[in-house]
Subunit: 209 residues, 2 copies
């Protein structure tokens, strides 16, 4: 059975990208349906037919964000050693947070850390997905201990938490307008920290200087 009925006049993913950017810039509650539909180039009934409602649209936008804008995070996890994982992640993260062709910062935080009484689930959803990312990093560190590039006795959860804390701080800073170069400095300091905390030798000379 092929397509039936009148076909969509807009591209699904393209519209989602525009919605993503509006949410990124204004947060979940700060993004009105008026601005969303304007940016997506569709009317409200089309939006509701295609995505359900505002919250579902947001969740789909966040999903697409994770897919397209955070691919670097998955790539980082594929690095061969824990150090390289963290280095790749923090550096690519800083780059992603400060792209000129994107809103500053990160949708997962700009989306909303606090919401009105009716929308607490939105903030909780974002927080949970960030912690899920942290969990993946911790799992990667568990593997690193098994593979010997993190010493026995390392605390994978604590290390992952620290890395995510730094990346979230960078996201806040980026949204405040802090420059890429300045965040790169901070990322290198954090890398310092990671090596010290994990009690591993630092494989690279200090780029800061």
């Amino acid at each position: 059975m092929t397509q039936r009925g009148r076909p969509r006049a807009f591209d699904d993913e393209q519209a989602l990208d525009r919605a993503m950017e509006v949410f990124w810039r204004h947060g979940y509650e700060g993004a009105s349906l008026a601005e969303l539909t304007a940016a997506m180039g569709i009317n409200k009934p089309s939006l509701y037919a295609a995505y359900g409602n505002k919250e579902e649209l947001f969740r789909k936008a966040v999903g697409r964000y994770a897919e397209t804008e955070m691919a670097y995070a998955r790539d980082a996890l594929d690095q061969p050693t824990a150090y390289e994982v963290v280095a790749a992640f923090l550096r690519a993260n800083v780059a992603a947070l400060t792209r000129l062709d994107r809103p500053a910062g990160c949708l997962s935080i700009q989306g909303g850390t606090a919401c009105g009484t009716d929308n607490t689930n939105v903030a909780e959803f974002l927080a949970a997905s960030r912690l899920a990312g942290e969990r993946q990093l911790a799992d990667r560190f568990v593997r690193a201990v098994e593979e010997g590039d993190l010493p026995e006795g390392s605390d994978p959860e604590a290390l992952a938490r620290f890395v995510m804390v730094v990346s979230e701080g960078h996201a806040i800073h980026a949204a405040a307008g802090v420059s890429r170069a300045q965040l790169e400095q901070s990322a290198e300091i954090a890398l310092h920290a990671f090596t010290a905390a994990a009690r591993i030798e630092r494989p690279l000379p200090t780029p800061a200087g």
Copy 2:
């Protein structure tokens, strides 16, 4: 000339404290006048007469927050050495972010990192005040270099930025429900980082066991 006219039926600062908590919990945009007035125990006209409008109320709440809830930050700056400044700040910060008698996280971030088109100035105001705090810390580090407890060639701005990045990450994490103990671990790792980055000897043994 003494007080004239009918006296206020409510305590100014007490009402501000209640407003602060509502903003802390729901953010600027997520806090409705209905919830604010209910929490403050006053009617809208009283609110407008006493505080101007919603945004002015918010700014006053943030001011009071800085005064009362962030006193630890000023205390930390008074510590004798840069290391002690950072240790005191990060530890007290984690404690403040995870008080059971306060909303989790920090008003300066929960207040809003992204806002609707009409309220961009609110997010900018918060970002600016955070960066002002960073500036104070950087100045403190300049002094530390002069006084010799940070080595010559240290980068006060970069160090301050890193410390604030970590504290902001902790705020996000705390708002997500991460426990005090877990954030304390992260703070100790960050302290590790600071000593390494500042190339100073670490005065204390590692508490993480």
